[in-house]
């Protein structure tokens, strides 16, 4: 990990067309690959919106999002910033077997799959035949492809039991550390954030 990248968000404003409420206004943040940043705010303050902006699912109304100094939108093909969605049920195609879901990722290592506790038998199943926690392991594995430089975790463990939560986070911390992946995590769980993150940011002063 010689050349460190930064994920920068510069003076970004965003609003959803339908209700016209300003979600983010003139928001700036820089995250380096060594950091694990926690985002906290009450519901409706734009945490998920920020995650989607950071991972390129949404385009900002104003301002820019830079990865390694270049606009994120200029990265063609595999996006180095990968987001793990809050609801794994919607994040996988119900008509594809889990094996194919994993193949979509960028050469996901066997080790990652193993350490996430994914059992070989699950690979032959359809998403409807797995629980939320099991599905979430798959979407985490899929996001941890070879070219992933930043990982955005949007309340990925909210609906999981404590044992699964700690398994998943233990693994994620180790993996992120080992590969030098920058992490941005969103959670309502303060203890979890204290444990996981090196820096915490509140969106509250940004809020509506």
């Amino acid at each position: 990990m010689e050349n460190k990248m930064n994920l920068e968000i510069k003076n970004v404003s965003y609003r959803y067309r339908e209700d016209g409420r300003q979600i983010l206004e003139n928001f700036s943040l820089t995250v380096s690959q060594k950091e694990r940043v926690g985002l906290a705010a009450p519901s409706g303050y734009g945490k998920t919106t920020l995650c989607k902006l950071l991972s390129g699912y949404l385009k900002p109304d104003q301002g820019e999002i830079l990865l390694d100094g270049k606009p994120l939108a200029s990265y063609r093909g595999y996006c180095p910033v990968q987001m793990i969605w809050q609801q794994p049920e919607f994040a996988v195609n119900p008509r594809l077997r889990m094996r194919e879901v994993l193949l979509e990722g960028d050469a996901v290592e066997e080790r990652v799959i193993h350490e996430l506790g994914i059992e070989p038998d699950w690979l032959n199943r359809f998403p409807g035949e797995l629980s939320g926690g099991e599905l979430q392991r798959f979407s985490i594995a899929r996001a941890l492809g070879k070219r992933t430089k930043f990982l955005i975790a949007d309340e990925i463990s909210t609906m999981l039991d404590l044992i699964t939560q700690s398994q998943i986070w233990n693994f994620l911390l180790k993996e992120v550390e080992r590969r030098g992946i920058g992490l941005i995590a969103v959670s309502h769980n303060q203890e979890l954030m204290d444990w996981v993150c090196t820096r915490q940011i509140s969106l509250e002063k940004q809020g509506p």
Partner: protein, 274 residues
């Protein structure tokens, strides 16, 4: 019905409906000559052991005529439904993917055609193309695609918004990959079921257009012709001329419907274990 689970019952439904349709087609084509032969020594016979559907006023065997007519109807139904479904698939996907202008044009055409009663448009097209087999097939094909096209368009628009397709794009997958891997598995069942459920529509419309005299010509033993000719003789008490062909037409339509419904249930992943 507790001997079989639901899936097995669906399989049995599919098997029987396909078997019925194939048998009708095969018998109909074997009986092409028998359906035409007139024999005045046996005219106006009520159903009996040698002519189970009876004979008509020209001494033609009604069983042979009915089977021939049905097999023609099925042929017309399959061809026009297939053409219709392909038109629907292409236009539906085009409307959803080619941008706003294309979408509004295609949506307008869909609404336009759906706004006119099928049978009216069908008669117009059929007459304009000189009636006959060609007119009926093209007429049915051109009138039946809008509902399926609208379904496919809505499905593609909804799919484009779904998280797993957005994720796939961020994982660097091409449009072609997404269309093939993510969209097609969702569209195919809809398309197949739509296609199969178009058959009965097509067959019924073919018969009604022919019955009204705007379809196939009278020398062809189509089911619509049989029924419309039988109307003249119904008042003289020859009930068998209309009853059996009518019942068989309804059974054929129901068989296609069973086929479509069974397919739909089978292809739905949520019912895999039922």
């Amino acid at each position: 019905m507790k001997f079989f689970n639901r899936r097995q019952r669906m399989m049995i439904g599919i098997f029987f409906s396909i078997a019925f349709l194939v048998i009708v087609c095969v018998l109909g084509n074997l009986n092409t000559e028998a359906a035409r032969v007139t024999d005045f020594s046996r005219k106006n016979l009520a159903p009996c052991s040698s002519y189970i559907f009876g004979t008509d006023w020209l001494g033609r065997d009604m069983l042979a005529r009915t089977l021939k007519g049905l097999s023609m109807s099925i042929l017309i139904g399959v061809v026009s439904a297939a053409v219709s479904a392909v038109v629907a698939l292409v236009l539906g996907i085009a409307a959803a993917t080619l941008g706003k202008t294309a979408d509004s044009i295609i949506s307008f055409v869909i609404d336009l055609i759906m706004g006119v009663p099928h049978i009216l448009l069908l008669i117009l097209i059929s007459v304009a193309l000189g009636k006959g087999l060609k007119g009926v097939v093209i007429g049915v094909a051109l009138t039946h695609w809008p509902s399926l096209a609208r379904l496919i368009r809505a499905e593609v628009i909804q799919l484009k918004e779904s998280p797993y397709i957005q994720i796939s794009a961020k994982l660097g997958k091409s449009r072609w990959y997404i269309a093939r891997k993510h969209m097609l598995p969702h569209l195919l069942p809809q398309f197949l079921v739509g296609l199969v459920l178009l058959f009965p529509h097509a067959i019924l419309h073919e018969s009604s257009v022919t019955f009204l005299g705007f379809g196939l010509s009278t020398e062809q033993p189509a089911i619509g012709i049989i029924l419309s000719e039988a109307m003249k003789y119904l008042v003289t008490g020859k009930w068998w001329l209309a009853l059996f062909p009518g019942i068989l037409l309804v059974v054929t339509v129901i068989m296609f419907y069973v086929l479509g419904e069974s397919l739909r249930k089978l292809l739905d992943p949520n019912s895999v274990h039922q």
